[in-house]
Symmetry: C2
Subunit: 418 residues, 2 copies
């Protein structure tokens, strides 16, 4: 039997290190070219499989593939496109299998979060039923850190490092200015459902910064919050506030969606940070600055965590190795052995236990007052932001990030309407 | 005659490298301890001189002073406190000279922008008139890059690098997602009067990113802007928008101040980025993300430009050396010899020509359509972001930034009310 091909796709919001996983997958496949002939990458994720837009990664040089390890974002394109139940989306699942069959694809490496784990699991089930069995392995990725079983998710550690460092730097800034000017600095961070990223901002407490953190896990209480901020300013002269985009009132209303309107009556365009800053100004009169990091935080490969880059690569590599061992419908995981010193190894989880399970931040990671983190949380977080993995820079002073040639495999099937 | 002391103060908004200038001043003074006995640093800037709160830098270890080179923000505290004309503020100028005299201060190194250059100049004039001549040297610092004569200002290069790199990274992110999700990314940058920082964002054009930049130098034309963005999206599938906080309509109204109101009728809390993003969404329907970098950009020592750090240090060092040569009422400057290869040396400018002169961005740096930068601008900018100067990190993964002990010199004068 001739060597099968592999299909690799990136799913959902991209990260600073998802390409490091791509690098791990492709480099490991290349080492086993007797068993895996080529890696086809989905152009714009799973949509590329449905529309038969397959990028021929054998056309990419070894140097370009190696450079993926240091390139943020999704080099092959990603998408937000969820295949739902087999019943509702049978046509699409069947199309996937058809495309895999037409291109002799025997391995499916899907790099994403909870939704893609679910899709991956269904492809492995359906392909078997359809008589064209594909080994489907999920490679974890999500800045939200919300996949179960694995100790952490690649992508999270680098966002956490960026937010911890940026919050520290901006706090030093406001500390310098507080005597006559800004006393409040608010930084808004990602995390609609869970406060993992906000918790990383709260680490600056260990560096003598007065900080109040607003988690989605804790219902917002305006009076209590203002009192907490005022106490910090009275004691330290200034206060940093880390607010999760998912922070909300007890009734579920997000802070960012407070019914604010522009002059045309349109709903205000969001941002929990300006809302919180204005609240402090109105009640306490302190001058403020605020920042919304948005994509900057998840794209910041220039400040990636070395742990995170290593794990992203290792999980991509392990996905291929496990496929070659005959494994199917699994996700390689990070298993923490100890935090100090930080030691971990690669484990695995059946996709049946990963799909549709969201891991929340444990309540024992949030301090008693609801505005900070506990020692247990710090012990969990620090290993994930450990070490610096810098990209190379060109002579002009800009990072050398890779762009793929993106040569396409010739289509073999009729067009498919999405 | 016994060796005089020096007084050093940080002024206005702080930067990623103002402490590198402090390091240059203090280390150079220490090398000439036969002539300069001690450097007293103003606690919270010039206010520290008025209130006689003088930090005894001789109490700081050589290691801690060296670490200033890699520490963002103002390690001694800064302030926004402008001494106006001699007539209006004579009492304060006289107090300054009295404090200098009481503490045997013969050198005044003032590290700031245009306002502090003016103050520095007046101190040199008044001290002479009052019979206690002080050599006043201004050390340039401003992220706004708006001081005259010097080729550039320390602080600007690092902000420029941070914005150029962050814009590139976030653009890669939106490029990955554009097929099914975000097509527009808006980043708001500092620069109320001049588009220097916005121009740095526009550098990503050289890295194949479709970008539209809104400068304060160009009156905002909504229809023309929307057409420019739409053309980029139609051609490339996505578009990055860099908007200066100072972008405004022809009548002077800032984009960030469009009369938007919250549900209580309060003026909306600002942010040109969400305004621009909403404008694109309303007119063109494209999904967007937006970021406001705010303090993150000027505090980002983790991504400082090596050129910038070197020049910040060199200007602090030169200030002391020029004082010891007997110079007064001057500012050391950066003189560019060539851009490729980048070569520069330290020059000097009389404060009479620096004070109250604002350097604008040349119009020939902005492209004909008003939304980009010219080759001349790029040739100017790249040397300033050249090289990476990383701080050290601790074993937990956080940068090792210095905090001063801040031991105070005993007061000798009656209290002074600000």
């Amino acid at each position: 039997m001739s060597a099968k091909n592999a299909f690799y796709a990136q799913s959902g919001g991209v990260t600073a290190v998802i390409n490091a996983s791509a690098c791990g997958v492709i480099e490991t496949c290349r080492k086993h070219s007797d068993k895996i002939a080529n890696v086809y990458a989905g152009r714009n994720g799973i949509i590329g499989a449905l529309t038969e837009e397959l990028i021929d990664t054998n056309q990419e040089s070894a140097e370009n593939i190696a450079a993926l390890k240091n390139t943020p974002s999704g080099a092959f394109g990603s998408c937000r496109f969820k295949l739902k139940s087999l019943e509702d989306n049978k046509r699409e699942y069947e199309r996937l299998i058809k495309v895999f069959k037409a291109h002799n694809i025997g391995y499916f490496f899907y790099n994403g979060g909870g939704d893609s784990a679910d899709t991956c699991y269904k492809v492995s089930q359906l392909s078997e039923k359809m008589g064209y069995p594909v080994q489907a392995i999920h490679v974890p990725k999500t800045v939200d850190n919300d996949l179960p079983i694995t100790d952490n998710c690649p992508g999270f550690g680098s966002v956490a490092k960026y937010i911890a460092v940026s919050t520290l730097e901006a706090s030093y800034d406001v500390r310098s200015m507080a005597k006559t000017s800004t006393k409040i600095f608010v930084i808004e961070v990602m995390g609609r459902h869970a406060g993992w990223i906000a918790a990383a901002g709260a680490l600056v407490e260990d560096y003598d910064i007065p900080v109040v953190t607003l988690f989605p896990e804790i219902d917002f209480d305006k009076d209590k919050f203002l009192a907490a901020v005022d106490a910090k300013v009275k004691q330290h002269g200034y206060c940093t506030i880390v607010v999760s985009e998912g922070a909300h009132y007890a009734d579920g209303t997000f802070l960012a969606e407070q019914g604010t309107r522009d002059s045309f009556g349109h709903a205000q365009l969001g941002g929990a940070a300006p809302i919180v800053a204005g609240m402090v100004k109105d009640a306490l009169g302190y001058k403020y600055h605020w920042a919304v990091a948005d994509y900057l935080q998840r794209a910041a490969r220039h400040l990636a965590s070395e742990s995170d880059v290593e794990q992203a690569y290792a999980l991509g590599k392990a996905a291929v190795e496990k496929a070659l061992e005959g494994k199917n419908a699994i996700m390689p995981t990070v298993v923490r052995e100890s935090s100090t010193p930080y030691q971990w190894h690669i484990g695995e989880a059946p996709l049946s236990e990963v799909a549709n399970v969201e891991k929340m931040m444990p309540m024992e990671f949030i301090s008693a007052d609801g505005y900070g983190i506990t020692d247990a949380c710090k012990e969990y977080l620090y290993p994930l932001i450990k070490g610096e993995s810098y990209p190379a820079y060109d002579e002009k002073g800009m990072p050398k990030y890779a762009t793929m040639k993106g040569a396409m495999i010739a289509k073999k099937l009729p067009n498919f309407e999405l």
